[in-house]
């Protein structure tokens, strides 16, 4: 019995180890190849570690494009979108869950509409609207639309679901003590909503960090570019990718987020799972 159990465990480990390959290998290959000289990148047989360790590509990343500036653009846009989304979606989610006001159902239908409409659908009119107010080739569309438009509807929906599930008793007690709505939201409901806020924050940050269609539609000057857009610009005179430089830039983009994730993986994964089940 015990023997067959441990044999089963061994088989499961082997299966999981094999399944890990497509998840781990690309990241490994990206990082190691970025330190290989161009001649070694497509060498056969392939080398798991660079035979000749060079860091030229990393210098070139910053020479060819204002990469530090682009890094900062992506980072500050994602932080602005995340902060705004956390504030506005928790306020709206709380109101839809707890405050009864005329028209609440109709207005919530609007949130559900936003939930169902992919923002790609409205990219043509959004471009025209931002063009009319002179905000094309600025970061405003990349901040305002994710923060308040269709992508934020999901976050408001998640927050509403979460607040609906909280027990009323705490708020009732606070109200008897004379706390107003905003104080109850701010001092009672928000602290209880930390897991949901964490999940919403992570989702929003990754969403903004990954945006690609919107930046290439709205932005045209390299010092305004965001990282995903910048990564694809490391090409030679014929439009072919300069692999080692692209991979170095991709590594610089991916590694910091991966490090944060590995450190906080429990909060990441369990927060998402928890909120997903609730929603």
């Amino acid at each position: 019995m015990i023997k067959s159990r441990s044999r089963l465990a061994l088989a499961l480990y082997a299966l999981m180890a094999v399944l890990c390959i497509p998840f781990l290998f690309p990241t490994w290959w990206m990082i190691t190849s970025s330190f290989k000289p161009v001649s070694e990148i497509f060498a056969f047989p392939p080398t798991l570690l660079p035979r000749q360790f060079v860091t030229d590509a990393y210098g070139r990343v910053f020479e060819l494009q204002p990469f530090a500036r682009q890094y900062f653009n992506s980072l500050y846009i994602a932080v602005a979108v995340t902060t705004g989304t956390l504030a506005f979606s928790s306020l709206a989610g709380y109101a839809f869950a707890r405050i009864r006001f005329p028209g609440a159902n109709l207005l919530f239908m609007l949130v559900l509409t936003g939930l169902l409409i992919p923002s790609e659908v409205t990219i043509v009119p959004l471009f025209q609207m931002f063009l009319d107010v002179g905000a094309v080739n600025t970061h405003w569309p990349l901040i305002l639309v994710p923060m308040l438009g269709a992508p934020s509807a999901l976050q408001t929906f998640i927050m509403r679901q979460f607040f609906s599930g909280l027990p009323h008793e705490l708020e009732d007690a606070a109200r008897i003590d004379g706390l107003g709505r905003f104080a109850i939201y701010h001092r009672i409901a928000l602290p209880l909503a930390k897991p949901a806020l964490a999940a919403v924050g992570i989702f929003t940050f990754l969403y903004s960090w990954n945006l690609y269609l919107e930046p290439i539609v709205f932005l045209s000057s390299p010092d305004k570019f965001t990282l995903p857009q910048a990564l694809t610009q490391f090409v030679d005179a014929y439009g072919g990718p300069m692999w080692n430089i692209q991979l170095a830039a991709a590594s610089l983009t991916a590694i910091p987020v991966l490090v944060v994730f590995v450190i906080a993986q429990k909060q990441f994964i369990e927060g998402l799972a928890y909120t997903g089940l609730k929603g």
Binding site: L24, G149, T156, L213
Partner: protein, 310 residues
């Protein structure tokens, strides 16, 4: 200021009778939702209305022409020789993605749910691509999938002659699906894992006492009890599959030919590369119609196959 010129006095009683605590509460409710609702009106409703209007006009941004053509763009839609191929590519991509994603997510979740030591490490690994920047991920895979790239190098060591993955119509489609699934399967895996852990253990014990095999337990207990999560994940995954853009743009640019030109990529080409805004808007209407129909279909099917506790 205000104190110097007091307003014509409304007696406090009258004012209080209108400004009731209930009204005050409604007002606060509206204040709370104001930013979100304003955003949805400005960035969703207005663009939708504009898009419907644009789709009725011939609008070439480069030529600067804008003229009302009625249903002209929709006629063009119906007769566009490229469109059937685009819809076929979208359908292949979505069906392949959803089937592969959900079954792999369920397999990984079941494996992780076996209470083996060290599963946290595997969970972290399977989830990690979710946090890697989408374009960075696509660039690495494009590098790996080159004719002389990493994957074919490994195949060559096993004496297999690998194809030029991104240049053959079928292998290109399979490649973009696999790249996308490996990137995002972790999300669904985590949702499935949480659902599996919520299935009461007593049910399995009872089934074992009754002599049910592992397969029977899985299909008669596990699957029905996690079906709400299957519905949720399939809605999210179907909707996401119709929005795919960056991976296609980086990996294949819709090629070879139009074999991986999905609807959003085609829309982008028509509107922002060829500058046919009116036609782009009618393509967006088509996309909206498809998303709406699919969501409605899944939602109405839920009664048929989702196990409901109530």
């Amino acid at each position: 200021m205000a104190q110097d010129h007091p307003l014509p006095s409304i007696s406090p009683d009258v004012r209080r009778s209108w400004w009731t605590p209930a009204r005050r509460d409604h007002f606060i409710g509206y204040l709370f939702i104001l930013p979100q609702i304003t955003g949805l009106v400005v960035f969703v409703l207005v663009p939708l209305a504009l898009m419907a209007w644009y789709s009725l006009n011939e609008w070439n941004v480069l030529a600067g022409t804008f003229s009302f053509v009625g249903l002209g763009n929709y006629e063009k839609l119906a007769t566009d020789p490229a469109l059937p191929g685009v819809l076929w590519a979208s359908a292949c991509f979505s069906v392949g993605l959803v089937l592969f994603n959900l079954s792999l997510a369920l397999l990984l979740a079941v494996l992780l749910n076996q209470k083996l030591a060290g599963t946290v490490v595997f969970r972290t690994i399977f989830f990690s691509p979710v946090v890697v920047s989408l374009v960075a991920w696509a660039i690495v895979w494009r590098f790996l999938l080159q004719q002389d790239g990493g994957i074919n190098a490994v195949l060559r060591m096993l004496s297999i002659d690998g194809p030029n993955w991104l240049r053959g119509p079928n292998t290109a489609m399979v490649s973009v699906i696999v790249v996308q699934v490996v990137k995002n399967v972790g999300l669904n895996m985590v949702l499935f894992l949480a659902a599996l852990q919520n299935v009461p253990q007593e049910l399995y014990e009872a089934a074992r006492v009754d002599g049910a095999s592992r397969w029977t337990q899985f299909f008669r207990i596990t699957v029905p009890l996690i079906s709400p999560t299957v519905l949720l994940t399939s809605i999210i995954t179907v909707a996401g599959s119709l929005q795919v853009f960056a991976q296609i743009a980086v990996l294949t640019e819709g090629g070879p030919g139009t074999s991986t030109t999905v609807l959003v990529y085609y829309l982008y080409q028509q509107a922002f590369q060829f500058h046919f805004f009116g036609y782009g808007a009618s393509l967006a209407m088509l996309l909206l119609l498809i998303v709406g129909a699919l969501t409605y279909l899944q939602w109405s099917l839920r009664k048929a196959w989702v196990y409901d506790n109530d």
